[in-house]
Symmetry: C2
Subunit: 157 residues, 2 copies
DNA sequence: ATTTAAATGGAAATGATTTTCATTAACAAA
DNA sequence: TTTGTTAATGAAAATCATTTCCATTTAAAT
């Protein structure tokens, strides 16, 4: 049974130390927020949640930690077009299921969907393979987003 | 034969006027740069090219015009993760062929690819249909990007 | 307990994009 | 063509998410 469900060293500690990073209170808090949230959050969202428990931790630390997490592949960073990045745990890290995003270009609402994901993933892997051979890239990730007008915004127009 | 290849009113004039927008020298210049460039450019890239011919046109106008063009669907706006948006003519507007992007997460180099596009598009359309029904979105667009390390950056690591 | 480099916070800097506002220009109407 | 209305414009200032700086704190190896 994997660690990190309750007490004890969390699942990411090893990964962190292995890369020469230290485990700190702030980092614990940030990971905990991300794990609990299980949906995309902005740096400021995370800051506020962390701040409620550890007021000493600053926004700068949030950004610095997120950068590390993204580089380690533990967290995914998204741009939904409203000028601030969003973060969420990567698949496999724990809770989060692989999903893609459906974004309203008017109100910026974001819907996570998992429908059709299997077909998408299958094709993506095939494409990934072809691309990495042809262009000599080591592909590590992909992004799929759909844009349009949501229910509400459709009516207003 | 479509207009806008040499002299005469360009293909987008009607579209522009129809939406209540005026055709101005600056807008002509911006569209011309976009049409000639046929690859993603930042607002500043466009500004510099336009500025070379019409020094009177400011960066503000570039941003304002790009916003209109994106809203009209004539231009696509991308985020490659280096902090500045890139713009390119939408498919069908003219020159540009539908393609997707392969981005080096290290040096931010971007490769446009058209390989596998047909398969991708086919799947996307199917997914789009399913999504718009299930979530009641009017889907107008999609984004696919692959991330990884390019040739050069792979070696350096 | 000691040591040392990594991590931190807070303030200042950055830098792309937006907003403001007084002026200019597009173009519909006469 | 001249005129009137209103959108479009440039320059400068404002915004605002994210980064950088630097003096101080702290994780964790010894």
């Amino acid at each position: 049974m994997p660690r990190g469900n309750g007490r004890g060293p969390a699942w990411w500690h090893g990964r962190f130390r292995g890369c020469g990073y230290r485990v700190t209170v702030g980092r614990e808090a940030i990971l905990e927020v991300l794990t609990k949230a299980d949906k995309h959050l902005s740096a400021e969202d995370i800051y506020m949640k962390v701040h409620a428990v550890y007021p000493a931790i600053g926004l700068t630390t949030i950004y610095r930690t997120l950068e590390i997490l993204v580089n380690l592949g533990l967290v995914l960073k998204f741009d939904f077009g409203d000028g601030r990045a969003r973060y969420e745990l990567a698949e496999g890290s724990k809770r989060s299921t692989h999903h893609h995003h459906l974004i309203c270009t008017n109100c910026k609402r974001v819907v996570d969907y998992t429908d059709f994901i299997d077909d998408e993933i299958e094709l993506l892997h095939r494409t990934e393979k072809g691309l990495s051979e042809k262009y000599n890239f080591a592909i590590t990730n992909h992004l799929i987003q759909f844009y349009g007008l949501c229910d509400r915004c459709k009516k207003k127009k």
